[in-house]
C-alpha cells in the first residue's frame, strides 16, 4: 500500500514498507532523524513523542506505538522540525534552555514535542499534558517552569502554518482491503479476512510487534473509518463509536460523569489516550482495561457488527472468560451506548502511581438512592477477576436496603462471594479484595460529601 504524509512540512510518499514498521524505527533507521528517541518502545516513557496533525487538530503521540499506515494523510512534526526556517528556536525550546529543563537530554525531545503540541493547542494543564513523559534527572520542576513560561506566547508562524495544513485525503488508489474508509468497507473486508488483526490506535497491538517480536501477516487499519469516530449525545442516550479515542472520550464524558472523566485522565498518558480507542479497550478483553467496569456500571450496551448483521448485548455479557469474548469471526465492535442518567457514577482507580499506570483495582460504583433506599446498584470491577466483572452479590446486598453505614458494612462482606483476585506485581490478592471493600465505603463517604481522595487535598 502507498502511504502519504507530511514530515516536518515536506510531503513523503512511501510504498512497499512493511505495514507494521513503527514510525519510530522509520524515523531513526530510514530517515536518520535520531532526535526522536527510543526509551522503552512500549509507550510508557514518551521519549519518542512527536506531533501529529490532521483535520481534527494536533496531538502528541508516541512514535513507537504508531505503524506507518496509521499516518496516512497526516502531518508529522519531529523535534528536528520544531525550530524556525532560519534556525530560530521555538519558544518551548528556548524556555527549556533558560529554565534548565534538560540534564541528560535524552527525554528532552519527547518533552519538547509534548510541550510544543500543548502550546499549540493552548493547553495549560501541564501535569496532564506531560504525564506520559518520564524524566529521571530533573524531578520535573524546571520543565514545568519552562512550560508555564511560554503559556501566553504566540504559536510561531511555522508551527501554526503546519497545523493549518489540510492534508489531502488519502488518494483513492490507496484504498485497499487493509485500510477501509468506512465501517461498511471494514465490515466487508473483515468478513472476507476474519483472521486479520484489527488495528485501531495500536497502543496494544504495537507491543505484539515491538516486544512480542511478532510478524503480523494480515492487518486491517481502522484509522480511515471516520464514521466510527462519532460521538452522539442525545437527551436520552450516549453513543460512542468504537474508534473514539480516549482524549475525545474524556472530553465527551467529563461533563456528564466527571468521575469517569477523571478516571480517563489517569487511564493513560496524553499520548496513549490520543491513540487508544474505546473499541480497542473493550475488544481486547483485558481484565484490566479501565473502560469496561465504568461502562458496565452505567449499564452500557455493546454494538457488534459482522458483515451486514448487527447485534447488541449488555457489555458485561461480552466478557466470557479470560482471553475469550463473545465475538464471532469477522465481527467487530461498532459502538457502545448507554442511557443518559443522573450522575451517581464514581470510578476509583488504584495503582502504584497516579498517572500512566495500569490499575491494580478499578472499581466503578453506580448506586441509585430514592428516599434513602437503594433502588438500583450497578457495581463493576477491573483487576479483580479474569474479566471485567460485576459485583452481583454486593449489589444484591444493597438493593432495597436503606442507604446507611450498616447496609454498606453488610454489603462489604459480600465481596468474598464475587471475587477471588490474584496476586501479582501490582498488588496482592489481599490488598485487592480489602480495598475493593473499602472503595464501597469511599463511595458512601463521597456521596455524603466527604473529601475522599488525596488528590483533592491542596495546601
Amino acid at each position: 500500500m502507498e502511504i502519504t504524509f507530511h514530515l516536518n512540512g515536506e510531503e513523503v510518499t512511501l510504498s512497499g514498507v512493511s505495514p507494521t514498521t513503527t514510525l519510530l524505527d522509520w524515523l531513526r533507521e530510514d530517515r536518520y532523524l535520531t532526535g526522536t528517541k527510543e526509551g522503552c518502545n512500549e509507550g510508557d516513557c514518551g521519549a519518542c513523542s512527536v506531533m501529529v496533525t490532521d483535520d481534527r487538530g494536533a496531538k502528541a503521540l508516541n512514535a513507537c506505538l504508531l505503524f506507518l499506515p496509521q499516518l496516512n494523510g497526516k502531518a508529522i512534526r519531529t523535534v528536528e522540525g520544531v525550530s524556525g526556517p532560519d534556525g530560530e528556536l521555538h519558544p518551548v525550546q528556548q524556555a527549556m534552555i533558560t529554565h534548565h529543563g534538560s540534564q541528560c537530554g535524552f527525554c528532552t525531545p519527547g518533552f519538547v514535542m509534548s510541550m510544543v503540541t500543548a502550546h499549540n493547542n493552548g493547553a495549560k494543564d501541564h501535569d496532564v499534558q506531560l504525564a506520559g513523559n518520564l524524566c529521571r534527572c530533573t524531578g520535573y520542576a524546571p520543565i514545568i517552569r519552562a512550560a508555564e513560561a511560554v503559556e501566553d506566547m504566540p504559536v510561531p508562524a511555522w508551527v501554526a502554518k503546519d497545523a493549518a495544513v489540510r492534508e489531502p485525503a488519502p488518494a483513492a488508489q490507496n484504498h485497499t482491503p487493509y485500510a477501509p474508509r468506512s465501517s461498511d468497507e471494514l465490515a466487508a473486508a473483515y468478513v472476507q479476512n476474519p483472521q486479520a488483526v484489527l488495528i485501531a490506535g495500536a497502543t496494544d497491538v504495537a507491543l505484539w510487534v515491538t516486544k512480542g517480536l511478532r510478524d503480523l501477516e494480515d492487518v486491517i487499519f481502522l484509522e480511515g473509518c471516520t464514521d466510527l469516530k462519532q460521538i452522539e449525545i442525545s437527551d436520552d442516550q450516549v453513543r460512542l463509536g468504537a474508534m473514539v479515542d480516549m482524549n475525545a472520550m474524556r472530553a465527551a464524558i467529563a461533563p456528564l460523569h466527571p468521575s469517569y472523566g477523571e478516571m480517563i485522565r489517569r487511564y493513560a498518558s496524553q499520548q496513549v489516550r490520543g491513540a487508544a480507542t474505546l473499541g480497542g479497550n473493550i475488544a481486547n478483553g483485558s481484565p484490566i482495561g479501565d473502560n469496561p467496569p465504568a461502562l458496565i456500571a452505567l449499564g452500557a450496551t455493546l454494538h457488534l457488527r459482522q458483515g451486514d448483521t448487527r447485534r447488541s448485548l449488555p457489555l458485561e455479557d461480552f466478557f466470557v472468560a479470560y482471553g475469550k469474548q463473545d465475538r464471532l469471526p469477522g465481527e467487530f465492535v461498532e459502538a457502545v451506548s448507554f442511557a443518559r442518567q443522573p450522575d451517581s457514577l464514581r470510578c476509583y482507580k488504584l495503582s502504584k502511581r497516579f498517572d500512566q499506570d495500569i490499575s491494580a483495582v478499578l472499581g466503578a460504583f453506580n448506586v441509585t438512592i430514592v428516599n434513602g433506599t437503594v433502588t438500583g446498584a450497578r457495581i463493576a470491577f477491573g483487576g479483580m477477576a479474569a474479566t471485567p466483572k460485576r459485583a452481583s452479590h454486593v449489589e444484591a446486598a444493597l438493593l432495597g436496603q436503606p442507604w446507611t453505614p450498616a447496609t454498606v458494612r453488610a454489603a462489604q462482606a459480600e465481596f468474598d462471594k464475587d471475587f477471588t483476585p490474584m496476586s501479582d506485581m501490582r498488588a496482592s490478592a489481599r490488598y485487592r479484595l480489602e480495598t475493593a471493600r473499602n472503595l464501597l465505603a469511599r463511595y458512601y463517604a463521597e456521596l455524603n460529601g466527604d473529601t475522599v481522595s488525596v488528590l483533592e487535598v491542596v495546601l
Binding site: K37, Q93, C104, A141, K211, R353, S453, V458
Partner: protein
Amino acid sequence: MSILSKTGPVAKPLPHDAAKLHVTGAARYVDDIPMPAGCLHLAFGISTIAKGRITAMDLDAVRASDGVVLVLVAQDLPFSNDVSPAAHDEPLLSDGRVHYVGQPLFLVVASSHRAARVAARKGQIEYAQETPILTVDQALAADSRFEDGPRIYNKGDAAAAIAAAPHLVEGVMELGGQEHFYLEGQAALALPQEGGDMLVTSSTQHPTEIQHKVAEAIGLPMHAVRVEIRRMGGGFGGKESQGNALAVSCAIAARATGKPCKMRYDRDDDMVITGKRHDFRISYRAGFGDDGALSGVEFTHLVRCGWAQDLSLPVADRAMLHADNAYAIPAIRIESHRLKTNTQSATAYRGFGGPQGMVGIERVMDHIAHDLGLDPVSVRQVNYYDAPETAKLAADQGGAAPRPAASPRSSSGKKKDNTTPYGMEVSDFELHGMTARLLETSDYQARRAEITAWNKTQDQLKRGIGFSPVKFGISFTLTHLNQAGALVHVYQDGSIHLNHGGTEMGQGLFQKVAQVAASRFGVGMELVKITATDTAKVPNTSATAASSGTDLNGMAVKAACDTIRDRMATFLAQHHQCSVASVRFEDGRVIAGADEMTFEQAAMLCYQGRISLSATGFYKTPKVEWDRIKGQGRPFFYFAYGASVTEVVVDRLSGENRILRSDILHDAGVSLNPHLDIGQVEGGYVQGVGWLTTEELVWDGNGRLSTHAPSTYKIPACSDRPDVFNVALWDGQNREDSIYRSKAVGEPPFMLGISAYLALSHAVSAYGEAYPALDAPATAEQLWSAIRRVRDGV
C-alpha cells in the same frame, strides 16, 4: 561574592553546555551516531532459569534466523570471558553455569537490531535446574555470601551502652532496591581499526574500565583500544560497570567480522540483565535517654548482592559508613552481610549504599521520637555532631578571605566525641545552622501543629510531615581512585580545547569544568570547547562516580590551565618587561605591564614565541586514608550536607498518598553553578522519593523479575513532584580546599527523599498508637497495610 568576583564564569548559573543540542534533538547519544555501511547489530540470548547448568544448547534456529551473521557461545570467545570490574566472576557468556534469570548465554550478530533480537529468542536451551537462592533468608541459611563472614565496625561497646540506657527501640526494616531507569538504555559500538585496534564508543561512566575489559577480550594491550563517550542519557551508577558486556561484545564481534558492530539493550532486556540498587534488610537496636540522645546503636545489614560481586563490597561498606548519618553516636556496632543470590548482580546506584545506611539511622530516630512523643527534629538535633568551634580555613587559592561559616554553634551543652564510627573527626558539620534555617523557611513548627489539628478532624485522610538531614562522605573509599587527569590545549587563535577523564551523564560536569577553565584564563565560555571523554587523551581515569566528577576533574583541569597560563605569563612578562606576578588574565584580556591585549592576541604572541600551549593536569585528593578491613581512617575528604522537610497526605482506605510540599536546603559549598546544582538537588530528591515510595521491584518465586518495563516499574511521573517545591542552596563554603570551595552535589541530594518516607510514617502514626514500622518502598499497599496494623492491630 568576594572570592569569586575575579573568577569569570565560575559560579554563574549558565545553562547546561548541551542544552541547545538537547532541545533541538541534535545531541548525539551512542545509538544516534551515523554508522558506516555494513554495521552489524548484536543481541544476547538469555537464561530463563535462575540457577543450574546448561545441558544442551541448540542454536540451529538462531543461526538460520533471517539476517544472522554469527552466533557466539563462551567456547568461541578468543581470549578472556569476563566482564566483571575486578573479581573475575562475571563471564560475558555463560560457561555452562546459570546464575540468574536473564544471564547472557549466547551472542547473536545480525544485520539489524530487530533481526538480532528475533534470533536471540530462538535458542533451544536445556538445563539441569537447581534450587535457586533468591532471598536473604535463603542466602543466610546456605551461607551464600561474598567475603568469609560479615564485616563488623565497632565504636565502643554498643551492647553495654544499650543495656544501660533508659529506653530501647528495636525493629527490622525491609528496604527495596531500585532500577536506574536511565532514559537511554545501555549501548555500545565498536569500529575495527587497522592492525586489530579497536575504537569503542560506549554509554559508560567508566571509559578506562571499558578499555581495560575490551583489551582483555581481544587479547591486546590497552594502547590498542580507544574508548570515547560524549554523553550518556543518564547513568546514576548504572553505567559504571554494567556497560562492559555490550562494549566487549561489540569488540569481539567486530574483531570476528571486520565490521562495525553496535549493541543496545531493549528496555526489557536492560532491566532483566543489568544490576540495580542493593536491597537491604536492616535490623536495629538502639538505647537512648529521655531526650532521645543515643547511648548506643546496633545495626545488622543483610545486603542482597545478586550473583556476582561487582561493586557490592564497597557499596556495603558505604552503607556502614553512613549508618551514623548526622549523629554522634557514643557506641555503635554495625554488622554487614554481603549475600550472594541468584538474582541480577546488584551494582552502583546514586549514593552507592549510603542511602541504605542512612535510612537505617533515620528509621531509628523516627522510632525514638514516636516512642518518646517528641518532635522528631529535636531528637535529631540533640544527637547531631557538634559544629566546629571555629572555622579555621586555609586561604583560598584565589587569595581572597573565606566567608565566615554561617552555622551557629550547637545549642547542646557538653562537647561530644565528634568522631564517626570509623574514627574520622567530623570537622565541617553544617547541620545546626542549616536545620535552624530550614525549619524557619519551611514554617515547620506551625505546620506540624496545624497538621495535628487537621488530622483530628479527619477519619480517612491524614497528613504527615517529615524532616531528614543528610551528611554524605565525599571521596572514593578505594583511596587510589581519588585521582584525575586533564588535557588542555590553547590554539594559536586563542580557542581552548578542554578534555578530562570525567563523563557527562546530564549532571552538568562538562559545563562546570569548562567554567573552571574559562575562569583560569579569564575568558568567556565561547572560547572553551568541551570535548568527548577519550581514553586516548586522558588515561587511567576513575569512573565518574562517588559525586567526585567536578572535584577531581575540576582540579585537574585547573592544574593544566594554570600550567599553560604560567608559561604564557612568564613569556609575556619577559616580552613586555614586567614582573610575572603582575600579568593578569581577566575579562578576555591579558594585561602585562603597560600593555594590554586580547587573550587571542596573547595566544598568538606566545605561539610565535615558541611557548608550549598544551598541558596535562593531574590531581589527587589529599588527606584521605582508609583501612576497610579495620573500618578505621579517613575515607572522606569532606562531607556534603543537606536537609529537607516533606509534607504528605495518606488515605486509610487505599493507602494512596502524595506529596503536598517539600522544602530543601542543600550545601553545595560555593556553588560552581547554582542552577545546575539546584537541578541536581531537585532531581535527586525526586529520585530518592521514588526509591522509597512507588518504585517496587518484584521477583516471582522462580527468580524472574516481574517488573521489567516502565509499564510495571513506576518511577515518579510529572505530577508526583511536590505541589510546592522550595529548593535553596546553603550559603556556606567547603572548609576543605576543594575546587573554588565548592562541594560535590551528585549523590547527596538523593537522600533528601528520606524525609518523604518519614512524613508518610508520621501520617500513618496518626491512625493509632503503634509505631508504623514502614518498610520501603512505601507503596500504597504497604501504607494500607501499615495503617491497618496501627489502627486495627491487624
